[in-house]
Symmetry: C4
Subunit: 243 residues, 4 copies
């Protein structure tokens, strides 16, 4: 499929933005080899731009970013998109305000996914960024794995947020069991990558907290979580500068 | 509020010093994103200079540092000060000799705060710098959290040092429970940041010591703690060069 | 022994390739000092090229790479080859399609070898690259150690893969008990080093998974392992770009 | 005291060598701040050259290195020598072939010292470099601490090697309980620093081995330790190049 000319300027800008966000994964030390992928979306939410599958970051160029529609059709691109494309598109469709999505295999977050456990909210570093535990989704069934695997991965994430009544804005990251983290942003692809770094740092702190407490730490108290989340993200937020 | 002209030279120098100390947090790997903040104080202890809230280290400039008085009023500055400002000012008022204060979310120190435990004095690396365990303050009550939170954080630190009879000079760092470390210096903002790095290193060693000992390590013997603390900081200190 | 002129061009290219792969060990942080070694092989599998023994990476040059035949005779080279040479040559003889072999003392993989345990397949990061656990070979007997030690190391690796019916392509790495990892590639020496980095990352994640789960994590489910291994390496692989 | 002119050339060279070795501690990431110290000795073993006490690595210069005699008298130098000077001189006197000594607070080795445990010889990485466990010396008594502390530290190290019949050449490192590692070389100050890095890496691997084995790992088998130590350091050593 080919792209309508009217998207040319927007897509060029978005490719650069998505490329920059992908390269930030390398700068942050969140990926090795060809691991990880970041995507962004056009304003009308018709097209997604995402890292090509299995291409090394060393040789990656902004123009290599792949355009797809939200039904996972590749548009006017020479490369295959990330194999996780159907997970990305499903999350964009579920959440009409999400502007960027990132998937990594960052080691500390992956370790919680491999243990099949939520990242508990042990303190304010976590609560400043994620309201409550970062959930670990249930395992996919063999049928879900053998079917449309990446699409079903998205469905299981959505099921997790619905069944546990988690607000996508308040907790903009999840773990896929035995797999790894996804994070998303309501601002930009870059912001999603910033969150992925935060998640990795929070996961590292949680592992150390488990060691220090002999696997016996308890979640931070509710009032503290409320306070920290809200001083940064609430209606009367006072962290940061006036916008 | 505006600043009296007579402070111009001193404040300009202090802003540079506080800026340099904040950037040192990045160099030392103690912060990511906009996390962490360092402050300094004028000689007459009328004004504090501190990092602006939520501003990225990449774009930070010396002139962006925010001036406040010790009642947390912003003086002649375009940015909001760090949201932790009331904790800083309270500590400056409580300790008329403190010259610089730093707060970070460095992962190993935070992990002890999240586990709600003191960092035990397991050896001479610790004792060279902190006399006895680095205390973890008690949790704030929901009332303290929902009230003047950052001010109350300072009060709980002060309460900890008073009730446990800890000398602010001998142990110039603390952990705020489920939150993270504060450190201070009687010399300069830079020295406070150096202490924050020491604290992080000491916390890392303590975590590994717990692993090796199967969570069963005991504090270093008292005579050794005395010796190391005093050879560096005591009346007859012989570490370092004559001043 | 001297080298037939007809190999000149191929050997020169191979030395460069093997040198580059050895230097990549340093770039990836997998080795310190003179530790680690990478080898490659000529197309007719008559000659192997390998790092010289005990030479520092700082002073290493492409022409320093040592040529041996597959009976471990040094050909036309001024340096001694890596002391692990007989392990390499044996693996090349056992697997006529292997193109590159690497041995490191990377700390996380070594730690599993020291504990005498397989690296369990805890998730998709592992399954994307190694099908099933990365096996830890049995200990060598004192007789095997005191005899042709490096040759016997290769024999024990081969015994492990045979007795446990592991496919050399599906799992192209192993641990030698109380020693460390070997990895090999059916593509190139560089690819073997890429796998060694993957192995180290996977080992790190496995250690953290053990911590989080209180040493109680279970292997990822079979269907997920199948899926991930095959989407990258199976007949209908769809990860990456068309070749 | 002043230095005899006949030492001028040798001392100048030695100061450069000791300076380079001290700076290598920074490059290797084994020290922060002013921690750590390396020394070297003149050929006639009359003078030692060592890092000045408490001077930052950033501002250190070769000419700042301090000369002492083996009775700890400072010779012709503007700075105080490292406070650990009497430990160094005692080890030089005890071992007339030692050419360089290093003390660090590298975190993994310190953690074993803080836990008061030997670093077990879990595998070949260790055995390639240290024959058997790296011993942790007994705690100093309060009398020893309050007396000539640094001298007594040396005495306790010597007592440990004597009572446990450890060969200084076969195991050229030790841990001082609740303090940290010392390492020495029979070649050069630089080689001592290389050993300190090896020790830190080996300690890291040992910590991870304890985690993986649920604190239940056993020492590598004796034949393997013999083999690896001897293939590198024995009479028939075949690791490395002919000298």
């Amino acid at each position: 499929m080919t792209l309508d000319k009217k998207y040319e300027v927007e897509i060029k800008k978005l490719k650069q933005e998505v490329y920059d966000a992908n390269m930030l994964l390398v700068k942050y030390g969140l990926v090795i080899h060809t691991w990880g992928n970041v995507s962004g979306i056009t304003q009308d939410r018709k097209y997604m731009v995402i890292k090509p599958s299995g291409v090394s970051y060393d040789s990656l160029k902004p123009e290599d970013m792949v355009i797809t529609d939200l039904d996972n059709n590749v548009i006017d691109s020479k490369y295959n998109p990330s194999s996780d494309t159907p997970t990305h598109t499903l999350l964009y469709k579920e959440n009409p305000e999400i502007k960027g999505i990132v998937h990594t295999h960052s080691p500390n977050a992956v370790s919680f996914a491999q243990a099949g456990k939520d990242i508990p909210c042990f303190g304010t570093t976590h609560a400043d960024n994620f309201y409550g535990p970062v959930p670990c989704a249930r395992a996919l069934s063999p049928q879900e794995i053998n079917g449309q695997y990446e699409h079903n991965t998205g469905l299981v994430i959505i099921e997790t947020f619905k069944s546990r009544k988690i607000d996508w804005k308040a907790c903009s990251a999840t773990l896929v069991k035995e797999h790894g983290p996804f994070a998303w942003s309501f601002k930009s692809p870059k912001d999603a990558v910033d969150l992925a770094l935060t998640l990795e740092q929070v996961a590292k702190m949680a592992i150390n907290t488990l060691i220090i407490s002999n696997n016996n730490a308890s979640s931070a108290q509710g009032a503290l979580i409320e306070k920290h989340y809200n001083r940064k993200h609430g209606k009367n937020a006072y962290y940061g500068q006036k916008k």
